[in-house]
């Protein structure tokens, strides 16, 4: 059976560093960056991207709609 794998793209400038997605991700993909963005917030980034399943949980709880989620089923396309 194909293992679904995922990836996220985070709009770093829109992110307010609220930390909600970081705590919500079931596979601990996300972290807040030590570097601040243009607004002075520490934006979320996929620190452990390989663990992403594309479950969308982070995007569902992000109040600022910063996260786009992708999914890919490897052997469906192969």
């Amino acid at each position: 059976m194909a293992k679904v794998i995922g990836a996220v793209v985070i709009d770093t400038e829109a992110c307010k560093g609220c930390d909600i997605c970081v705590h919500a991700c079931p596979t601990d993909v996300l972290k807040l960056n030590d570097q601040v963005n243009g607004k002075g917030y520490n934006p979320a980034y996929p620190a452990n991207h390989a663990a992403c399943t594309g479950c969308k949980i982070c995007a569902l709880v992000c109040p600022d709609m910063c996260i786009t989620v992708y999914q890919y089923k490897p052997d469906k396309v192969a």
Partner: protein, 257 residues
């Protein structure tokens, strides 16, 4: 075939988008504090309207409160109402344009304090509108004053020792209250601080708009939300506090359907 070598960049290139921001939200930066539930609630209303294909036929009414600028964020026709008057304004709009979908978006100070009368009478008339009611237990915009929904013992800038029931009364359950009125077709309480609640809240909002399409009367969707600034907590702590303190008093689920 090995699956472990694929990089996130390749997944993004070859994969399918399973979540992206709805086009019915504008690209304006939300004026809300980091982690505020208003953003998720806005998005759900707009996602439902987009998926129902009624963006061109919908008119929203924004309140006074933190979401006073909802018209800058929601990419549908909007009108901003005087404090608490959104259900009266929505009544007028719906009567002039009965074929349009009309909704209000209101906080608990707006809907359950200054606008109590407008809320109750619009519901009692069974106005065929959707009311989205954001209950964060406080006046967010003006600096965290006590709202009618503030929990017993909860501190706010006007109840610095905590809400005292003998002098300040009980937190009001507006959705239960209006559910008694025959004009109300659907009354439900939802939340948006975790993904499992977000999914249910979206279904409830969709049902409310379908009720309007089917001429059923008033639908009210309460969303128990956070105000981390007013509660003086981090967003993550506020959501935990909400779960442990707000939900026991304001239980989630359908009150009337």
């Amino acid at each position: 075939m090995t699956t472990s070598v694929i990089t996130p960049e390749e997944i993004i290139k070859k994969g399918t988008v399973v979540f992206k921001k709805t086009e019915l939200m504008t690209n304006n930066t939300l004026s809300y504090c980091p982690g505020c539930g208003h953003g998720v609630a806005h998005r759900l209303v707009m996602e439902v309207i987009e998926e129902m294909g009624i963006g061109e036929e919908t008119i929203g009414v924004a309140p006074v409160g933190c979401s006073v600028l909802a018209y800058d964020f929601m990419n549908v026709d909007m009108q901003q109402a005087a404090h608490g008057r959104a259900p009266a304004v929505a009544t007028g709009i719906k009567r002039v344009y009965p074929e349009k979908y009309v909704f209000t978006y209101q906080g608990d100070g707006d809907l359950a304090a200054i606008g109590t009368s407008e809320t109750i009478h619009a519901c009692n008339r069974g106005e065929n509108i959707v009311i989205i009611f954001i209950n964060n237990g406080i006046y967010g915009m003006t600096g965290g004053q006590m709202a009618p929904t503030t929990l017993a013992g909860m501190k706010s800038s006007t109840s610095p020792y905590g809400r005292s029931i003998p002098t300040m009364g009980y937190p009001i359950k507006m959705t239960e209250l209006v559910a008694h009125l025959p004009g109300v077709a659907y009354a439900t309480r939802q939340a948006v601080h975790e993904a499992k609640y977000v999914r249910k809240a979206k279904k409830a909002i969709q049902k409310a708009f379908e009720n309007q399409r089917d001429l059923k009367g008033t639908s009210i969707v309460e969303i128990v939300s956070n105000c981390n600034s007013g509660w003086k907590m981090t967003p993550v702590d506020a959501n935990k506090w909400l779960e442990e303190n707000m939900l026991p008093y304001f239980p989630l689920g359908d009150i009337k359907k």
